[in-house]
């Protein structure tokens, strides 16, 4: 019986049905299924399938982003129960991501967040035009393993450097691995500003994130 609902949950993520995902999460709780099982045996299987099909080129970005939205919807319903049972979903790692100060472009960053979420990271997307101080505050409060700084413009790339400097000043630099990305960003720039990781695209970002978390 429960096998069937788990399959439906996975399918909802694959189909990108956000409303249905939330509904199924509630239905599972109502049936007395453990919140951790609902996540791992149901929804996570779905997002893993989405990630796999994306990797094979069968799924495109809209499927990926909507799959991640379904996960969010399900976790939104399961949240209190997960907390109460102290069952955490086994996560690959925790990450905070945002577009740096002065830059309003967030699609690239959003795609990276979706890819990371679909790959099993717990990702907090803090939005765009985020000041170094706000990133520092976020790192000290959320204590993520990874901090991802996105910049689309050559002029706003500089804020990646100042954010890293602000982390150093706050004594938090050693607590978090910093990844940088965005159209004008290169490995040379990442090295120059002392970032821990750089990826050219969202797919590579996942590989780099995994490596950095393992290394950490």
């Amino acid at each position: 019986m429960s096998e069937e609902i788990y399959e439906q949950m996975a399918q909802a993520v694959i189909d990108g049905e956000m409303g249905l995902a939330a509904e199924l999460a509630q239905k599972g709780l109502d049936q007395g299924l453990p919140a951790g099982d609902i996540l791992d045996k149901g929804f996570v299987k779905g997002i893993e399938e989405v990630g796999e099909r994306f990797g094979k080129g069968e799924f495109f970005l809209p499927e990926l982003v909507q799959g991640a939205e379904c996960m969010k919807a399900a976790v939104g319903v399961l949240g209190p129960a997960l907390e109460a049972s102290k069952e955490g979903r086994p996560s690959l790692g925790t990450a905070v991501a945002g577009t740096v100060a002065g830059d309003l472009h967030e699609i690239g960053k959003t795609i990276v967040c979706s890819m990371l979420a679909a790959s099993g990271f717990d990702v907090k997307d803090v939005g765009y035009d985020i000041s170094p101080e706000a990133f520092v505050k976020e790192v000290s409060e959320s204590k993520p393993q990874l901090l991802l700084l996105s910049a689309l413009l050559t002029t706003t790339m500089l804020a990646q450097r100042s954010t890293i400097e602000a982390l150093e000043k706050a004594g938090l630099r050693g607590d978090v691995k910093v990844m940088v990305g965005g159209a004008p960003v290169t490995q040379v720039w990442a090295d120059e500003i002392g970032a821990d990781g750089y990826a050219e695209d969202a797919i590579e970002a996942v590989a780099v994130a995994k490596k950095l978390v393992d290394a950490g």
Partner: protein
């Protein structure tokens, strides 16, 4: 100049899209992140709520009326000016490639200021290149305000009109003007700016929009909306959104100074939903660009589009096909300016070879678009009669006088096989590289007066230390 062109939309379709554009400019309107721009809009009758402007139709119609239908951008000598009006089509390179294909080694490497100049020096020689952009985000340029260093690198390489697309504050606009004047002609460049789609005119873009209007520097305003990302995944919605973003920019521009020169920018990039990379040569993009150019024509504004470029990562068959396809599609739009000639890797990489090839294709396309004029029909009939059935025209003075009117390739091979084989069996790429190296080894056709170059360099270092 040529008249042959394609239309996908007639007046009826343009009017329907225009009305949809007016509707979205009222609701949702546009985000205007500049206080002065909002004041101008409010004073003219727009409804302002916070940073959101709801723009009524009258403002759009007023702006379309006051924007000039024709203006001139000068060269700094040696080349014709650009007469910016519908009916003319000019071709130019693209801006800001991170990488370049090294002419000596063939390797892809980061672009430097010397590359910006070298590609401008090449463009200076080529008859198919009418305007020039900084084809490199220079690795060795200053990290802050790189725009003046790149502008200087261009001024050193070419006298052709320049298009500059810096992300810079309005203070740089006056500096560009001063530098262009020092180099010989203040009215020899244009500025490019774009909103952040969907419907957001940010402070930096508006600084350039209003600064250009006030200084009378021609502005190209183009949207980079992308279907499924920053615009709905629908061709009609993309065209309406793009049009609305450009026209709301035009409204602010014309309010800042009515009659200031403005170019209606069209581009409709796609983004691959599987690879997440920007795609320049997609069939839908060119269909949308065509209809946007039809819109631009219906407004009577000079327009701007993309062509002669490639998504391919290297100089392969895909590159050649994309460059040729996109150039002919862009030329057929009848757009006033076609830029990005010579792009590889979706605008990430430049190369000498790809610019040379695009230049060759411009010759081909211009000859094609000359069409078949009928103004010499009487003479044609008398020539047919003069030779009659069974003869030949080789010895006719008419032939000698006119056969050079036909396009002559310089790099495309048209020899018979044995001649080609005896000459080493070279491919197009072999010939392009060899010719680019040959041109590079010759003295440049233009050199900037060293004392002027020094003055320009001084302006760049002033800014760096300021």
């Amino acid at each position: 100049m040529t008249n042959a062109r394609l239309s996908m939309w007639g007046e009826d379709e343009c009017l329907r899209a225009h009305q949809a554009t007016l509707a979205v400019l009222v609701d949702p309107g546009a985000e205007v992140q500049n206080a002065r721009a909002r004041e101008l809009l409010a004073a003219a009758g727009a409804t302002i709520d916070g940073t959101r402007a709801s723009i009524p139709a009258k403002l759009v119609e007023d702006a379309l009326t006051s924007a000039p239908k024709s203006f001139i951008v000068m060269s700094r000598g040696g080349h014709d000016p650009l007469v910016m009006e519908q009916g003319n089509t000019y071709y130019g390179t693209g801006g800001d490639c991170l990488h370049t294909r090294d002419l000596d080694s063939g390797e892809r490497r980061r672009a430097r200021l010397a590359d910006v100049t070298a590609l401008a020096v090449l463009s200076e020689r080529l008859p198919g290149i009418d305007f020039v952009m900084s084809m490199g985000l220079a690795e060795d340029g200053p990290t802050e305000s790189p725009e003046l260093a790149e502008f200087t690198a261009l001024l050193k390489g070419t006298r052709k009109p320049l298009v500059v697309d810096p992300v810079c504050g309005p203070e740089s606009l006056a500096a560009f003007r001063r530098m262009a004047a020092l180099a010989g002609e203040p009215n020899s460049f244009m500025i490019y700016a774009m909103p952040t789609s969907p419907f957001l005119h940010n402070e930096s873009a508006l600084g350039r929009v209003m600064g250009c209007a006030e200084l009378g520097i021609p502005l190209i305003y183009a949207s980079g909306a992308c279907p499924g990302f920053t615009a709905p995944a629908s061709r009609s919605a993309m065209v309406v959104e793009t049009n609305a973003e450009v026209l709301s920019g035009l409204v602010i521009h014309q309010l800042a100074r009515p009659g200031a020169p403005f170019v209606y920018g069209t581009s409709a990039p796609a983004m691959s939903m599987s690879t997440t990379s920007i795609v320049y040569v997609a069939p839908e993009s060119y269909a949308m660009q065509q209809t946007l150019c039809d819109m631009g024509r219906s407004y009577g504004l000079p327009s701007w589009t993309v062509g002669g470029c490639a998504d391919s990562n290297t100089l392969d068959t895909q590159w050649a096909a994309e460059t040729a396809n996109s150039l002919i599609m862009a030329a057929l739009t009848g757009c006033t300016m076609v830029h990005d000639l010579g792009y590889l890797e979706s605008g990430v990489q430049s190369s000498h070879e790809s610019i040379l090839f695009a230049d060759e294709l411009v010759g081909f396309v211009r000859a094609y678009l000359d069409g078949v004029p009928l103004d010499d029909l009487d003479k044609a009939v008398s020539e047919i009669r003069a030779v009659g059935p069974g003869g030949d025209h080789l010895a006719r003075p008419h032939t000698r006088k006119h056969y050079r009117d036909f396009w002559q390739p310089s790099l495309v091979d048209q020899w018979a096989h044995d001649h080609w084989a005896a000459d080493g069996g070279k491919t197009l790429n072999d010939r392009l590289t060899a010719w680019a190296r040959e041109l590079h080894s010759q003295p440049p056709v233009f050199t900037l007066d060293p004392s002027v170059a020094d003055e320009l360099d001084a302006i760049v270092s002033e800014r760096r230390t300021a």
